[in-house]
């Protein structure tokens, strides 16, 4: 009996070991399978993104221009030194940071207010949401042309409205004078992109449990107190994500500015990417343009890293 039991136990143990080994092999295969299936995408990314990025990084350490491509030579960090000594680049960088700061914050405030207002509308909210999204449907180039016409000093909509109001020609060079040019571009950017914030915040607000808001009401909170102490803290992760995405989007601003002002006149509305484009493709200083691009990318990475750290902290606080 004991022998039979022992044999059975040994068989069970053996079966269990075999079963564990098989599960282990299956788990290992399962672990590698997703990676293998991603190989085509990785190859495409490597060719389309990775290789050009590495090549342009290499070019940033050379004297490459479009016309003298045959006599390329290594110049070390010279381009990077030039970048940090270039007052136009430093001005563009400062202007871009200011542009991002103002645009993101105004879009945030407007987006939050509009989303909160929309969350109280019950009838027609879906139609309103669709209408809100319309500016996002236009390509930035089209928005640029639209606002370039709106702000045109001779035939533009704004100056014509002013003419109708005051009864005499009011010729304000919106796209020329400092700081009107900068403000005009900001208006176009905010008009185009606030709907994104609205949609994200609205989704966040709608995910708030109604019981929490009811509880706040029962405790005697008014609308402003509910908004400040319940709604906003509840949608912090949405806010961080929306602001991070918008910041990176605005940091890439090129088409809108290029169409409206070209970064001019006299660099008055020059942002980083309009300057880099002109440097690389019109002045043909490809290597210097590459160096500028990498400096900008490093700054953008640092910013994104900081933003997502804050997001993670915010989510941890929320869990607690």
């Amino acid at each position: 009996m004991t022998t039979e039991k022992t044999i059975k136990s040994k068989e069970i143990v053996k079966l269990a070991r075999v079963s564990r080994e098989r599960r282990g092999r299956a788990t290992a295969e399962n672990r590698h399978l997703p990676i293998v299936l991603l190989i085509p995408a990785i190859i495409i990314l490597a060719f389309v993104v990775g290789f050009p990025m590495l090549y342009s990084l290499y070019l940033s350490f050379t004297n490459f221009t479009l016309l003298s491509h045959a006599s390329i030579k290594f110049v070390g960090l010279q381009n990077y030194v030039t970048v940090f000594k270039d007052p136009i680049f430093l001005g563009s960088l400062g202007r871009t940071i200011l542009y991002i700061t103002i645009a993101v914050n105004l879009e945030f405030i407007l987006g939050l207010l509009i989303a909160n207002a929309m969350s109280h509308i019950i009838r027609g909210q879906s139609i309103l949401r669709t209408v809100m999204m319309m500016p996002m449907m236009f390509a930035p180039i089209l928005v640029g042309f639209q606002f370039k016409w709106i702000f045109n000093d001779q035939v533009g909509l704004i100056n014509n409205i002013l003419y109708e109001i005051f009864g005499r020609p009011i010729i304000i060079p919106w796209l020329i004078e400092r700081p009107l040019g900068f403000i005009s571009i900001l208006i176009a950017e905010i008009w185009m992109s606030t709907p994104f914030m609205v949609i994200v915040f609205l989704a966040g607000i709608m995910s708030i449990s109604p019981e929490i808001l009811e509880a706040a009401e029962v405790d005697g909170a008014n609308e402003w107190q509910k908004f400040r102490h319940v709604t906003v803290p509840s949608i912090i992760p949405f806010i961080y994500i929306a602001m991070a995405v918008r910041s990176l989007d605005i940091a890439k601003a090129y088409d809108l500015v290029s169409i409206m002002t070209g970064g001019g006149p006299a660099h008055r509305t020059e942002l980083i990417w309009t300057y880099v484009y002109r440097l690389a493709f019109t002045s043909q200083k490809f290597a210097l343009g590459s160096a500028m691009s990498y400096v900008t990318v490093v700054i953008a990475f640092a910013f994104t890293f900081y933003f997502f750290r804050q997001l993670i902290k915010a989510r941890q606080i929320r869990r607690v």
Partner: protein, 475 residues
């Protein structure tokens, strides 16, 4: 088994992707080779019946020529004649790219740099071709065009395509600017009286740049709101070019004989100051620093400008009553003279070149000869272009006399005169555009009052000198 199939499929897709990315040329069809006739076929051809004619062989049968051209508006008309060339020569023509001047310039530069040129004939321009020489993208044309074939082109324009003793471009049409002025303003007796009362001088078409400035500033005080005495294109190469032609007229130079920037001389400061003073006095539209060619032309046809320098090529648009409020209300004059005793005359010509990558330069040359022959140039002249063949000029001036509009004739005679005496290209160096890219924002800053003319031009000169040094011009 299922996972193994998935793996096999994944690996196959990966290999396919790599092959597609690495070897795209393998998918392109090869150009058809000229067919060779055998002796038997030749005999069979000669034994055709008397009723059939023996057709001569076409010189470029089986050859496909590819071209990258400027496109849009009136440029397109010429390309409609290409089937005629194909019929005559047996060659097939494929236009692989069409874009505006700046788009095609960027395409050519990037293609020459990347070695991805797949066309035989390309658009070119007297202001741009030196870059393409430096990029080793085009070939000299001396071996493909005889002196007799070139004799009909206006010599000054043909010479604009010569560098280092070789001819690089064949001109298609050229343009030069004339002073356009509103006859209903400058010739208006009421306006003339007010001007005389204000300044003590007669209101007349300015003949010098000093007169131009004085007249514009004084005239501005008499014009209604929204109408300006003058305007200039205010950005990019357009602004640099306008500054350049005033600089030359005032006796200055862009580069000296050692390729050092010389535009910050007294003549340059005077030219830049003129632009600044005109803007400061409100004699130019406030949005002027955002204008390029279409903008200044639109302002003119909208009736917002009293006088300004403009290319002849816009003439038919200006005289079209359905599009222009100034049709029949303007006249032209030669550009003003400066202290240097010469008239301004920044000019250029659109042209064609043969790419270094072309495998059929003889066919490409024949194609260019067709595009620039007398018939094509005459057709282009009907659209308002200033063509480069002297024989065509004689014909179109005679035809213009029959229209009954004296300006139709005057315009052509002036253009011909300017082409032979005032035609000035920018410096024939690849660094013209990059230097313009440094200079024009500074010119804008001078115009807007952000910088002093002398300080601004000195700053631009220092940067341009560094550009030339990096390009290897100084030993």
């Amino acid at each position: 088994m299922k996972k193994r199939s998935l793996l096999v499929i994944t690996i196959s897709i990966s290999v396919l992707i790599v092959a597609t990315l690495l070897f795209p040329a393998g998918c392109a069809p090869k150009p058809a080779a000229p067919t060779e006739t055998t002796a038997a076929e030749t005999t069979a051809t000669t034994e055709t019946t008397a009723a059939e004619e023996t057709k001569p062989g076409k010189p470029f049968e089986g050859i496909t020529l590819k071209a990258a051209f400027i496109g849009g508006a009136n440029y397109e008309e010429m390309y409609k004649a290409i089937p005629k060339f194909e019929e005559e020569t047996g060659a097939k023509v494929e236009i692989v790219f069409k874009g505006d001047g700046f788009q095609i310039d960027k395409k050519l530069k990037t293609d020459f740099a990347a070695g991805t040129v797949d066309y035989d004939v390309c658009w070119d321009h007297s202001s741009f071709y030196t870059q393409y020489i430096k990029a080793d993208g085009i070939i000299p044309l001396d071996d493909y065009f005889t002196k007799e074939e070139l004799a009909d082109h206006i010599p000054m324009i043909l010479n604009a395509g010569m560098k280092d003793g070789h001819l690089w471009i064949i001109p298609r049409h050229f343009d030069i600017s004339a002073l356009h002025y509103r006859t209903d303003i400058l010739n208006d007796t009421e306006m003339q009286k007010k001007f005389k009362d204000q300044t003590g001088k007669d209101l007349k078409v300015p003949e010098t740049w000093d007169e131009f400035k004085e007249t514009a500033i004084a005239l501005q005080k008499l014009l209604p709101a929204g109408v300006y005495a003058t305007e200039f294109a205010g950005k990019e190469e357009a602004l640099t070019g306008r500054f350049y032609e005033v600089l030359l007229a005032e006796g200055g130079q862009y580069f000296d004989e050692n390729w050092k920037p010389a535009f910050n001389s007294e003549a340059g400061v005077k030219a830049a100051t003129m632009f600044r003073d005109l803007y400061k006095a409100g004699a130019m539209p406030p949005g002027m620093t955002g204008f390029v060619w279409e903008d200044v032309a639109k302002n003119w046809v909208a009736g917002n400008i009293a006088m300004y320098t403009e290319w002849y090529g816009w003439y038919s648009y200006f005289q079209d009553p359905s599009a222009s409020k100034v049709a029949g209300k303007f006249d032209i004059a030669r550009q003003p003279v400066g202290d240097g005793g010469i008239h301004s005359g920044w000019a250029g010509d659109h042209a064609f070149s043969i790419t270094k990558a072309s495998k059929n330069p003889e066919a490409a040359a024949a194609f260019i000869k067709f595009l620039t022959n007398e018939e094509q140039q005459y057709n282009e002249s009907k659209l308002g272009f200033l063509v480069t063949r002297q024989s065509v000029w004689e014909k179109i001036i005679e035809e213009a006399k029959a229209t009954g509009n004296p300006l139709d004739v005057k315009r052509l005679e002036f253009a011909q005169l300017q082409a032979s005496e005032d035609f000035k290209t920018p410096p024939l160096v690849a660094e013209w555009l990059p230097s313009s890219d440094i200079l024009y924002p500074i010119l804008q800053a001078i115009i807007l009052g952000d910088k002093d003319p002398k300080a601004g031009l000195d700053e631009a000169a220092a940067k341009v000198e560094q550009l030339m040094k990096d390009a290897g011009y100084y030993k």
